[in-house]
Subunit: 204 residues, 2 copies
Amino acid sequence: MSPASKTTSAPRRGRPGYDQESVLQIAVGVFNRHGYDATSMGMLAEELGVSKSAIYHHVPSKGDLLRLALDEALVPLEAIGRQEQAMHGTAIERLEFILRSTIRVLIERQPYVTLLLRLRGNTEVERQALERRRAVDRKVTDLMIAAQAEGKVRTDVDPRTTTRLMFGMINSLVEWYKPNGPGSPEQLEENAIAMIVDGLRARA
Amino acid sequence: MSPASKTTSAPRRGRPGYDQESVLQIAVGVFNRHGYDATSMGMLAEELGVSKSAIYHHVPSKGDLLRLALDEALVPLEAIGRQEQAMHGTAIERLEFILRSTIRVLIERQPYVTLLLRLRGNTEVERQALERRRAVDRKVTDLMIAAQAEGKVRTDVDPRTTTRLMFGMINSLVEWYKPNGPGSPEQLEENAIAMIVDGLRARA
């Protein structure tokens, strides 16, 4: 809840007014620039353009802000696994659907996923988020094993290592993808899936 | 140069004595744990078990330590490109050699490469290191283009995006590879190369 929402749906009055989404957007930028540990409430106040004493009117606490910001990444990532195409079909089809959907969330929620991927696990909020992320990864490892049993994925690779390598590849895009750079999100998705499914080798 | 080397090759006497390698090993751990920006000379002193006033006898400056630690990653990474097998042969062979060698350096120099990959570029030392890293990446993009021209690499992927995806995959291992975990470095190397060259798909 933003402070404003207690009384009205319009942005809170004062200097300046923020709804929760704007606060989160600014906070995630500060966290990513300086690291969560190194970010102080004073730094957030400065970035929001409010006084250090007024900051608590705008944000609950640093930990709550982190939790809300991480949900912006985790909720859509977790939702992928509950979609029709992630639950039915062959393991290889479900795997490809999950990978494509993950790439889309990474692009759409880039700063929030960046925050998630850089967590060190120093606080309880961080550890809970990392556990939710691991649960998502485990589902993919299970699908990889099922796809090997189906005969659709090569059996000379280790499912756990391969899951990590795949996520390493996909997750890296939050560090280098530029929304306004050359190449559309669709091209990036196709390029990544082509590499994951068939690799570099030219085939006749 | 370690302070000790001015007078003797034996470790410096006192409480405790360090050669440069030990100082670097400890420093890179502190940098990776807290982030370079958030690490103070006081934190390094504590970790080395020396007083805050004595720290400058053991380490030159935070920036010099960073430069030395980054060289532990960059020097071997840059050396790969000067080896015989990186300079001669078909582009696809040279590419595979470079990828395999990079994986080995990442495993052998894991903490130093972790430091390199997490740099934010806030200081001149960091920016120089990032520029050296980019030069290494550019050589791989050039080889990718050459391998496409040779007909050995598929031409429906973008060489620059594909280089980034490949390095994303390979570089991720510094965040999750456990030297004493299951799976040998050789298995990891084979698994990664298999994925990069041929992808997931089972083939008859």
